[in-house]
């Protein structure tokens, strides 16, 4: 896989997530383009590459997700998304040989469990941190169940959004120069 192409695609997806896709928001949830990109890379790249890119992407997502500390101080916690993305990638790797990888519907549908798994780990990490008296969890006054439901909705929405987005990504498939043989190893 060409890393330069991945970095460029990741930059575009991060910008879309933090600045544009809120335009498609329904009921407070909007799709996450980065998750679709991670599923796309996870379907074609070598195993080690998938895990490292998931970790790097998760760290960048953590650095784009401000929490509030002491009422009015932004605070970035490295870990919840990073570990979540690695966990999601580990879920994806065993099943990638069982799907039609060049099909955008497969990419979109796999984005649902992937993003939900990321969300579960994200919430688990913040719940653990919530034991510190100084830490307020990002979902504030809402219950954990409500936040989990919101994240499930976000995952499903991302799945729907992921189909056309994956189609666009698959159009660029030759540019990525994936080593298809490595997927079976």
């Amino acid at each position: 896989m060409r890393l330069g192409v991945f970095v460029a695609a990741l930059a575009v997806c991060l910008v879309l997530d933090s600045s544009f896709l809120a335009a498609l928001s329904i009921g407070g949830v909007h799709p996450i383009a980065t998750a679709v990109l991670m599923v796309y890379v996870g379907l074609f790249a070598p195993r080690r590459m998938v895990l490292w890119t998931a970790l790097a992407t998760g760290i960048l997502l953590d650095l784009a997700t401000p929490a509030v500390y002491r009422g009015d101080q932004p605070f970035f916690l490295i870990g919840p998304y990073a570990l979540g993305c690695v966990f999601g990638a580990n879920l994806l790797l065993p099943i990638r040989t069982m799907v039609f990888r060049r099909n955008p519907i497969a990419v979109g549908l796999l984005a649902i469990p992937y993003l939900f798994a990321v969300g579960v780990v994200f919430m688990a990490m913040w719940t653990v941190r919530g034991l510190y008296s100084e830490t307020a969890v990002p979902w504030a006054d809402a219950s954990a169940a409500a936040e989990l439901g919101r994240r499930l909705g976000e995952a499903i929405y991302t799945g729907g959004f992921g189909i056309p987005f994956a189609w666009l990504l698959l159009m660029t498939w030759s540019t990525w120069r994936f080593d298809v043989g490595s997927v079976r190893r």
């Binding site: 930059a11 575009v12 991060l14 910008v15 879309l16 997530d17 933090s18 600045s19 544009f20 896709l21 809120a22 335009a23 928001s25 407070g28 909007h30 996450i32 980065t34 970790l55 760290i59 960048l60 997502l61 650095l63 784009a64 997700t65 401000p66 509030v68 500390y69 009422g71 009015d72 101080q73 932004p74 605070f75 970035f76 916690l77 490295i78 870990g79 919840p80 990073a82 570990l83 994200f122 990490m125 653990v128 941190r129 510190y132 100084e134 830490t135 990002p138 006054d141 994240r151 976000e154």
Partner: protein
């Protein structure tokens, strides 16, 4: 390693993760600016579509503002003469130097659209923690969070700052002074605020809610934060009314506003 990082005490992480975030996201600032402008351009704001009653109200307000404008023009002429005589006297009880900076929104929390907004100005342009984000001169957007970076800063929307002290005032400008109106404490709820007042208090839909909170910067006092959306009897206590307030402006729909900060380096305090 990452697991360990995620469990470190917050105080250890704040100084360097904020800087790291700014450095990592710096190359994305121009793209974020463009994407935010595109998002705002594409989004339809339902709240801007007026009903017949709202249209009539707007027309009455326009006439009222026109009258006030002419009265003010007369007053300005009077005051110009007075200023001429006062010029040259030393300033007394000055509010201090301040800077007003126009900033563009370049991003927000990807998974929490109600969270803080990132803007493309930081300490290099004079933005300080505790500064106030203002839209159209009279609407409070939020406040600048501490730990401002050299080139970017985070704005915490007013709705995300917890309980707020405010005053509910009539719409007409003449009656909308901060010192008048009903004092209330607003609690964030369902994308707006709620509060309760005694039943004898005259509060109606459409009234303006203005900030009157000592916890905020002096520049924020008196700015509009919401509009009374609904007034209903409180079920659990019929002697009180429950008031629901919607924000005047949805911060997510803004791609540009003004940040007012103290111009000195120690301007964190309100």
């Amino acid at each position: 390693m990452v697991l360990l990082l995620s469990l470190l005490p917050t105080g250890w992480l704040v100084p360097w993760t904020n800087r790291l975030s700014e450095i990592v996201r710096l190359p994305l600032v121009p793209l974020g600016d463009i994407a935010t402008s595109a998002r705002v351009w594409l989004t339809v704001d339902d709240s801007q579509i007026a009903t017949r009653d709202e249209f009539d109200l707007l027309e009455r307000e326009r006439n009222e503002y026109r009258r006030l404008y002419h009265a003010s023009a007369e007053r300005v002429r009077e005051l110009e003469g007075l200023v001429g005589s006062l010029r040259g006297l030393p300033p007394v009880d000055a509010v201090g130097e301040y800077v007003a900076i126009e900033v563009d929104v370049i991003g927000s929390d990807p998974s929490g659209p109600d969270g803080p907004l990132q803007v493309n100005a930081g300490t290099r342009r004079g933005v300080r923690g505790g500064g106030v984000a203002i839209h159209r001169g009279d609407v409070l957007v939020g406040r600048v969070m501490r730990e401002v970076g050299p080139t970017t800063a985070w704005i915490q929307p007013a709705l995300a700052t917890g309980l707020i002290d405010a005053r509910v005032s009539p719409v007409a400008l003449a009656e909308a002074g901060v010192r008048e109106g009903v004092a209330v404490q607003l609690e964030p709820r369902d994308g707006g605020w709620r509060t309760t007042v005694d039943r004898s208090v005259a509060v109606t839909s459409g009234m303006i809610v203005r900030l009157h909170d000592a916890g905020w910067s002096r520049f924020a006092q008196g700015l509009a934060i919401g509009v009374v959306r609904e007034v209903t009897p409180l079920e659990s206590n019929p002697t009180r009314l429950e008031i629901r307030v919607r924000p005047v402006e949805d911060p997510r729909r803004l791609d540009r506003f003004l940040v007012v900060s103290q111009s000195d380096a120690s301007g964190d305090a309100p």
